[in-house]
């Protein structure tokens, strides 16, 4: 793993965001903490603010106030450049669908994850030397030390991931668009995990799959995330997926804007059960204590 054991995988502090020129919606999260290897399910329908949350967590959008830390690296607030670099190296993202660039081969789609991530580590494997100076801006040099893989290592890892995800060698060179939706989503997992990210963000990745494929997909996703020691933040409107996760939170209350209880989004690995009890019935109802290992069997 890239980050120090002492750091949580993800930590939000007093997060606050509001779209410019719009008073209708705001997102405020006093605290959220995920330890390395934890899997969190956030339940929320569309319009509940989850898109905003994902954009903030991925560093696409800048927060108005508060902080986001990723394995000891400060994602927010930080410069656009730093956020992009941290996303390249420490965040893997799986979308709802159409995760792949249709005309690139399967293997190239997976390797895409590494194409823009050399800057943070200071390696100049990407073409633009203009970004090489970025290494000086690295928030935490410790987390970059062992993260840079050679292109041969990357290719090997990509092939291992694809194989583990049930995608055999013959389709690696095929154009991504020739694959079935289920296969495409698995390729997306491989890409998200290629660079051994700290955090895997999944945004409704199963909504385009039928129930049979969905279970297989969930199992592969969590298995491979565990294999990469990757923390998972999974957003979906489908409550049926909650049992796969050790922790569940509702997005619904976020959509109201201000959280009634500052403790609501609090989640700590140290004493999650105690906390769940302390948070009261509303949270407890949405928190499942199912462990991934139990579900995987």
């Amino acid at each position: 793993m890239t980050n120090d054991r002492n750091f949580p995988a993800l930590e939000l502090k007093n997060l606050s965001f509001r779209y410019k020129g719009s008073a209708a919606f705001s997102l405020q999260i006093p605290q959220l903490r995920l330890e390395v290897g934890q899997h969190l399910f956030i339940k929320g329908a569309s319009g509940s603010g989850k898109t905003t949350l994902l954009n903030l967590l991925a560093g696409i959008q800048a927060v108005d106030a508060g902080e986001i830390w990723l394995g000891g690296a400060q994602l927010q607030p930080a410069s656009d450049r730093t956020r992009d670099a941290i996303r390249a190296q420490h965040i893997g993202i799986v979308f709802q669908q159409l995760n792949l660039i249709p005309y690139l081969s399967v293997l190239d789609n997976v390797l895409l994850a590494a194409a823009f991530q050399a800057k943070l580590s200071g390696k100049t494997m990407a073409s633009d030397s203009a970004m090489a100076s970025d290494s000086a801006m690295t928030p935490d040099s410790a987390m970059t030390s062992d993260s840079a893989m050679t292109s041969a290592q990357l290719k090997t890892r990509a092939e291992q991931l694809l194989t583990a995800l049930g995608l055999a060698a013959p389709i690696w060179q095929q154009a991504a668009e020739s694959l079935s939706v289920g296969q495409q989503q698995r390729v997306a997992i491989a890409r998200a995990l290629l660079c051994k990210p700290t955090l895997l963000i999944a945004d409704e990745p199963t909504s385009a799959l039928d129930s049979e494929h969905r279970d297989a997909f969930m199992r592969l996703l969590l298995e491979q995330a565990d294999a990469s020691q990757c923390t998972v933040l999974f957003v979906s409107h489908d409550a049926a997926l909650a049992p796969w996760f050790s922790h569940t939170l509702a997005m619904a209350s976020l959509a109201d804007g201000v959280l009634p209880n500052p403790q609501f989004m609090r989640l700590s690995a140290v004493s999650e059960h105690q906390q769940a009890q302390a948070l009261g019935a509303k949270v407890a109802a949405e928190t499942r204590a199912a462990t991934p290992s139990a579900m995987n069997s």
Binding site: T51, L54, N55, F95, L98, Y103, A113, Q117
Partner: protein, 418 residues
């Protein structure tokens, strides 16, 4: 990786990409082609008079004299006396002279009355002399030496008989039927108007016009000339004389003397100066052509920008994916510019190749039809500036879709609403 994406993205959308490239190729071919043709035409014209220091004819404008004497374009307004020619020949500074008597034609090709000095002294290109591909120079009356294009187009061979026509139109109503000529020689191709000419002796020109009055055909039976009469023929008039001087330094002095010639009004012109005047007149037309071509090119470039811009909608998904894996917004703008460059480079290569092929295909026809030798390779010392200018224009126009990609990737975030 960006380059790979750019290439494969264009290949993925090769239908629209091909049309865009076609438009670019056509406009680039226009640009390079027009530039090439004007330069080659100039080079060809200049090479035609390369060895001649002065051209002397009846008093007229220098351009007019140059065009009708050397390039067989237009007609002489007046003739000069053979006597004047003989005096000119005796001038101490004159190294050689080539008399020219024009006014007749054969199947649209000009007939040139001259002397064998023509074959000896005429120089074209890099001081190259004329060379007979077959046969010999004319040695007497009713013998003709034809240019390479004449032989090729009309399929003439040595020994064949031809009839000359009075006047220089393609269709002539008065033929010199009574005076058939025999082809005795065929010149090697030169890429100059020489290829388009039928050369006969000055005496032959006299012979076929015996009995003619004021340019009108003789009434009644055309007198047949006896061998003695033929031998005693004396040329009366000439159209022009090409003059080579012993020393270039004397050029202006001789020119002045000819212009002040007492016996009749004559003009002596410097072919180079006359050509410069021609280019000056042509420059206007050339510039208009180039401006039009530039506008056509701009239209093609805007078409390319439109294609890329239109694709941006369907590609917002791609932009989101690339952003998700950490691509910076300016890198996405750069990706679009890379595609612009691929467009431009492919178009340039295709345009250059197609133009070269077309020139290779057209060259024989151009040479045969206009006596202009166009080199096949459309490349000149300054051509790379054209390409640099085009590439710069392409990148400038490309900033429109590139900026769109940049703006979009910032605005839309990770989740694309389809």
């Amino acid at each position: 990786m960006l380059m790979k994406i750019a290439r494969q993205s264009l290949w993925y959308r090769r239908g629209t990409a091909m049309l865009t490239i076609c438009a670019l190729v056509v406009s680039l071919m226009l640009l390079l082609g027009i530039d090439h043709l004007r330069l080659e035409a100039k080079r060809s014209f200049t090479s035609t008079v390369s060895g001649t220091d002065l051209i002397v004819g009846a008093r007229s404008g220098q351009l007019n004299l140059l065009l009708y004497s050397v390039f067989r374009l237009g007609n002489a307004t007046n003739n000069m006396q053979y006597q004047s020619y003989q005096q000119l020949k005796k001038h101490p500074q004159v190294a050689w002279t080539i008399p020219l008597a024009l006014g007749d034609s054969h199947q649209g090709f000009r007939v040139i009355g001259t002397t064998t000095d023509y074959f000896q002294f005429y120089r074209y290109g890099q001081s190259q002399p004329l060379r007979l591909a077959q046969g010999d120079a004319f040695a007497g009356v009713y013998q003709a030496v034809i240019g390479a294009a004449v032989a090729k187009k009309l399929g003439y061979e040595i020994g064949q008989q031809i009839i000359l026509s009075h006047g220089v139109g393609a269709v002539s109503f008065s033929q010199h039927k009574e005076h058939p000529f025999t082809i005795v020689g065929i010149l090697a191709a030169t890429g100059t108007p020489v290829d388009q000419s039928v050369h006969v002796s000055l005496e032959s020109i006299e012979a076929i016009h015996v009995g003619w009055q004021q340019g009108a055909a003789p009434v009644g039976k055309v007198p047949t000339l006896t061998a003695e009469q033929l031998a005693s023929l004396q040329p009366q008039t000439l159209t022009a004389v090409m003059v080579g001087l012993k020393s270039k330094v004397a050029t202006f002095a001789v020119q002045r003397q000819v212009n002040q010639f007492k016996a009749e009004p004559l003009s002596a012109i410097l072919p180079g100066a006359a050509l410069a005047e021609l280019w000056q007149i042509m420059a206007m037309v050339e510039n208009i052509l180039l401006v039009v071509t530039a506008l056509v090119l701009l239209a093609a470039l805007l078409g390319m920008a439109t294609t890329l811009l239109a694709a941006m909608n369907e590609r917002s998904r791609e932009l989101a994916i690339l952003r998700a894996v950490g691509a910076r917004p300016w890198q996405l703008a750069w990706l679009v510019q890379l595609e612009v460059m691929v467009f431009t480079l492919v178009s340039m290569l295709a345009a250059f190749a197609l133009l070269t092929l077309s020139l290779a295909a057209l060259q024989p026809w151009l040479t045969a039809q206009y006596g202009i030798l166009i080199r096949v390779l459309p490349w000149h010392a300054h051509s790379h500036w054209w390409l640099i200018a085009v590439a710069t224009a392409a990148l400038l126009v490309g900033t429109i879709p590139a900026w769109q990609a940049y703006r979009r990737s910032l605005a839309q975030g990770l989740v694309v609403r389809l």
